[in-house]
Amino acid sequence: MSMYTESQARAILDKVIKLSTADECSAQLDGSVDGNIRYARNAVSTSGIVNDAQLVVQVSFGKRVGVATINEFDDASLKKVVMRAEELAKLAPENPEFMPGIDKQEYKATPTFSEKTASITPEYRASVAAASITPCKANKLVAAGFFSDSQRFSAIANKKGNFGYQTSTNADFTCTVRTEDGTGSGWVARNTANVDSFSADDDIKTAIQKAKGSANAKALEPGKYTVILEPAASAGLISFMMFGFDARQADEGRSFLSKKGGGNKLGEQVFDERVSIHSDPSDPGSAVLPWDDDGMAREKTAIITKGKVDFLNYSRYWAKEKGKTAVGRPGNLIMAGGDKSTMDLVKGTKKGILVTRTWYIRMVDPQTVLLTGLTRDGTFYVEDGEIKYPIKNFRFNESPVIMLNNIEEIGKPIRVGDDESPFVMMIPPMKLRDFTFTSLSDAV
């Protein structure tokens, strides 16, 4: 068994806390059932289910910390794991940055669980694959996709009486559709906690349309262009930039938010005033657990407000050093926008390039957050409000900091999954001027 109810989880964690004789004791119990199906060349390639659960116990004597884990939860095993953590703590070197356990937190339950997602069967997964493969075959196209779903529970407790329990679900769907001759490629993605709102039959139409529409692309010269980035095209760049929001890195002088001569840019105008990003664990479209990795309660937090940096992530240790109050680290990023869809932004564009998604984004220079990467699976030339023709993919070298100062228009945010990002994101389509493409790619 890998899914425990609140009372089962509480009983295990209570026992652990009582068993410990250390100055501090905290414990976390997590379990999950993960299922997936992968397909390519219009056929299923792999599919599987993984069940797993584990308990982590952390204890401390003074500034000496010990951690141990176990995946059996009978009384003897619980005793063993606590003893092992305590033995380790006694042998550990003192951690000069040790912080005592968190006080009792107030966690407000957030809407992270869907019964329908938790009830997904192998047959459901097979039907998602079929919903992609069947229309692709009929259209003489080739589908390659992945659907994964998970249900999990997380429970935390400590000696100071803190306790939290919550269940969550997630489903992620991506499908790439290519023409048989390999000259066109389209893509669609959907990320949700609740598959009630998911229809592979509907989503696949987008990828099919883009695959057909992107065939036989023309080459444009690299250079600076007005671009319309679909939400999936800018999410990776924005998420990468968030690594620079660490207060300690900024104070130490090694972030784009470091200030010349020392200190950080908290409170300063760094972006266009139309840029606002906040985090809210209860956001219905992008809910996350009400606590962070340290168990600190997450609250609604303004990160960037009208272009001004409102939040830097202070670890509990760094907050103490700097006389700040540490708060729960954001688990989601919600960027403010308007009501327009991507196609509405296209309609209002005289000349520009529409980008479906970006790919293989890597840091070139952390000083300026200069990132490089490529467009992929549907890049189009736009003129007089219409998509005119598909164009070959570009490599970009651009900083999200510069990009978020070159805003022309912002559309309506949608939920985006990004497997390289720790955040659940709500990102709008954006029209941006002077986006820097540095070379052409022959890749389709």
Partner: protein, 545 residues
């Protein structure tokens, strides 16, 4: 490299950060030397093999894995984190109704294993409705009960933590003494105890070891607010702790003064030098973009080989199995079948190798029970083969798998992964100094930096760690803000020379990401210094105003 996995370990410890499905549970250091009983593993494997057959599976393999890792994370004079992790469980893969099915569980009871086997068969049957071409497995003869182990001299898991911590802190102190503003150093050690059994009649017990000691030295000019890092430095190796015991013969001083290492590493001296280099980078002149002859050290070239040769020559990518994630490949089947596709210049011979000593990919058998080997991918510039596994080789008219199947955990399904892919050294005697003497206007690049390549592996951009101007055959000043952009076939056809075997060194990736769900693997790439003529170099400096 999978960025997220690396970041998890570079940060400070928190409970949730320790709950890592791909790396497992935290355990005590002494438990790192515990092993599962082989008899128990065989009994469990037989339980699954019997259950699969009873349920109608035509093939079954069972992987019982105990994956042990230790991470020591330090900065300046502090130990930030010492984590020992263990992940134990069983993954069962079956073919039923011509279709793959997979299930995994951490429950190592006979009942738990039998239940997971049933689940795997159920999945295969559910998906068989969509099967048009039943799985074709290249035959493998069962090898009975055998074992294999990485030939290490000193098991890193048995070395006391204090010895490791003292070494890292000594390196940090050397960097700080030499003027670094900050230094982070880490020691990663991996031991994969993998038991493979299959309905072909194999029971293979393997004990695999790897080690990596990455370090990052930062220098900051407080007045200008500029910061620069010297990253990477050591190579990840398929070795034990003997790699951290420096030997004189493994230290190589390059033209221009940079120092690199072969099969052992002096982390303390490298930290000192790294601090000096980070400070030099602060003052280095920004590159004037244009076309240059590039002289690429093996500490840099490995990543270019990895991205522009290793990945595009994976048959699953060529066929479209990775189309939805990592992408496909420009190196299509028609190019292979033509027999004369010029992937590179005649200087370029590239081999795939799963039996190279000290390499990250070195094992006795792959994760579907195939005995490992070495084979050519590019011979004298011509594309001659791909990397392929049991259910693919019939597509390239081969009769046997090349033995490069891998899963990063018992809970992950095995699939085709990159073998060590390496550039063969030049046959004529040629040192880096002699190579540089012939370059009029070039850039000498040492160490790997940022890397990005498109989904068919045509267009790539690479940065580096140290860049030196080459003028009229001499290494000159350090320069900065350098990245080069390539189109893969043109780049490899611009290879003018490769130094001889005395310069050959291994580097590699500890966390190469591929697949959905994403899995990591460790892979080495060897080469000697190589020269590429007329490559496009861009300037990466920007201003945030």
């Amino acid at each position: 490299m999978d960025r997220r996995d690396f970041l998890k370990y570079s940060g400070s410890a928190s409970l949730a950060a320790l709950l890592l499905p791909s790396f497992g549970s935290v355990i005590a250091a002494e438990a790192l030397t515990e092993k599962l009983d082989v008899g128990m593993k065989k009994r469990l494997a037989d339980t699954a093999l019997t259950a699969a057959k009873a349920d109608g599976a035509t093939y079954c393999d069972v992987r019982i894995g105990k994956y042990l890792r230790q991470f020591v994370v330090t900065r300046e004079n502090k130990v930030q984190n010492v984590v020992n992790t263990e992940s134990t469980g069983v993954g069962i893969r079956v073919i039923a109704a011509g279709t793959w099915g997979f299930a995994a569980t951490s429950d190592l009871s006979a009942d738990g294993v039998a239940k997971a086997t049933k689940q795997a068969v159920q999945i295969a049957k559910a998906n068989s409705k969509l099967t048009t071409d039943p799985v074709q497995l290249a035959p493998v003869k069962g090898v009975g009960e055998v074992s294999w182990a990485t030939p290490i001299k000193r098991n890193a898991m048995e070395v006391p933590i204090k010895e490791k911590v003292d070494l890292l802190l000594a390196a940090n102190a050397a960097a700080m003494k030499a003027g670094a503003s900050f230094v982070n150093s880490t020691l990663f050690q991996v031991n994969e105890q993998k038991y493979f059994a299959s309905s072909d009649g194999s029971y293979i017990d393997q004990d695999v070891h790897r080690i990596w000691a990455p370090m990052s030295v930062t220098a900051i000019d407080k007045t200008s607010g500029k910061f620069r890092k010297r990253d990477g430095m050591s190579a990840p190796m398929g070795m034990g702790y003997e790699y951290m015991d420096p030997k004189k013969e493994d230290r190589i001083e390059l033209p221009g003064g940079a120092v690199v290492y072969k099969n052992s590493y002096d982390i303390v001296d490298d930290a000192r030098l790294g601090a000096q280099q980070a400070q030099q980078k602060l003052k280095a002149r920004s590159v004037k973009p244009g076309k240059f002859d590039l002289v690429l050290d093996p500490t840099h070239l490995w990543l270019t080989i990895h991205e522009s040769v290793g990945h595009p020559l994976e048959l699953d990518r060529v066929l479209g199995y990775e189309a939805n994630y990592a992408g496909t490949s420009f190196a299509t089947m028609d190019k292979l079948k033509s027999g004369d596709y010029k992937y590179g210049s005649p200087e370029v011979t590239i081999v795939a190798d799963k039996i190279q000593p000290n390499s990250l990919g070195y094992v006795g058998y792959d994760d579907e029970g195939v005995k490992t080997k070495r084979w050519d991918l590019i011979k004298d510039g011509i594309l001659v083969n791909y990397q392929a596994i049991r259910d693919q080789v019939h597509i390239i008219d081969e009769k046997a798998s090349q033995g490069c199947c891998y899963a990063d955990s018992w809970s992950s399904v095995q699939f085709q992964r990159m073998a060590n892919v390496s550039l063969e050294p030049g046959k004529k005697k040629l040192t880096p100094t002699q190579m540089i003497a012939d370059v009029k206007d070039g850039i000498y690049i040492i160490g790997d930096g940022s890397f990005s390549i498109d989904q068919q592996r045509y267009n790539a951009q690479f940065g580096g760690q140290l860049f030196y101007e080459i003028k009229d055959g001499k290494v000159g000043d350090m320069i900065e803000d350098v990245a080069y952009q390539i189109r893969t076939p043109e780049f490899w056809n611009a290879c003018a020379a490769v130094c001889d075997e005395s310069d050959y060194r291994l580097n590699g990736s500890f966390f190469d990401g591929k697949g959905q769900p994403s899995q990591v693997s460790a892979v080495s790439h060897g080469s000697s210094t190589a020269r590429f003529n007329g490559i496009n170099v861009i300037n990466t400096a920007r201003s945030l105003g």
